[in-house]
Symmetry: C2
């Protein structure tokens, strides 16, 4: 009941955090209860975990739920009142990239376990929608293309262990920022001269 007691993180929450880290890193199947216990300072292999959760399966949605709440809170505190902002495209792209980094493990878990566990897919998908709203992103096609590109860039840079096609982050954002929808009148002529054509 004391202020101190209220501030100390419960073992249950520590377990949820450790479990989420492991699930996102190596997947649900590869994660053992023993490793989770070890990470929070419990004796590995003792069933102490089971005083807090009744099964490993029960842990998965609970860990996702907790991480989603934290991510949403973080987005709200990091980008308050961004709705009215009028800003250069590059600033917006950097903000989206920060957001994608913050939610990187959630997205990875979605990729890993989304198929197998529909509840996770639904929870993460709807939370992403909430955060998109917070970021005041109206979802125009050009914006979606930008976010998709950042998504791909981030995921594969991580997977490859080097910048995607050796383009560093600043270069990538700069390239994205200079892309804009062509006006109707320009389209035909420019289509035959651009550099992506061989």
């Amino acid at each position: 009941m004391s202020t101190y007691a209220a501030k100390r993180v419960s073992t249950r929450d520590l377990l949820l955090d450790a479990a989420f880290d492991l699930f996102a890193e190596i997947g649900f199947a590869g994660t053992t209860i023993s490793e989770i216990e070890r990470r929070v300072g419990l004796a590995a292999g003792s069933g102490s975990f089971y005083r807090h959760f009744s099964s490993k399966e029960e842990l998965l949605p609970a860990a996702v739920e907790r991480e989603l709440s934290k991510a949403i809170a973080d987005v709200r505190s990091a980008f308050p009142d961004v709705a009215q902002a009028r800003e250069p495209r590059e600033v917006w792209l950097r903000r989206m990239l920060m957001w994608l980094r913050r939610t990187e493990r959630l997205n990875r878990l979605l990729l890993l376990e989304g198929d197998r566990v529909p509840a996770i897919r639904a929870a993460i998908t709807s939370a992403v929608q909430v955060m998109s709203d917070e970021l005041s992103w109206d979802g125009d096609p050009a914006g979606i293309v930008g976010v998709a590109a950042l998504h791909g860039y981030l995921l594969f840079s991580r997977a490859i262990g080097a910048p995607y096609y050796d383009i560093d982050e600043d270069e990538f954002i700069a390239a994205l920022a200079t892309l804009a929808p062509r006006r109707q009148s320009e389209t035909v002529q420019q289509a035959s001269t651009r550099s992506w054509q061989r």
Copy 2:
């Protein structure tokens, strides 16, 4: 020795294919030898698998290697002599999307196990380079942005179980195709200083 015998797929190759499917679907840790045996028609739980491979670990790089060979061969037969092609951006984007679909499971496996198994990361990364060359893609920044966007679109559409931000494939490609670098006069100042900025 007979023509028929040469054409019949060996059990070893069936095992490699089944293993690859499972690894890409549910990951290495989540895949059991029993399930692999079941998929190729062997009795699940019998050690028949071990007449072909000495361990589960040995199976992983072998399965990736086989799938990489098949993917490269498919790309060559599907897009022969594309080097000289002059084509609209949208056609190029659709071709890249086809390629990404063909290599989707390889990319998923890279995401899943690349960190844990450097050999897989290296093999897939270098094969992707080979295929990029086959597709005669010079890797200009605008092109890389396009491929990254398609990558993100494809991966997350699959993970979400619906089109990414509810934009269907044709719309997405159309949006990508109409994006072009703004003219120098509009952006040269920002663009030239961006790379040095933090």
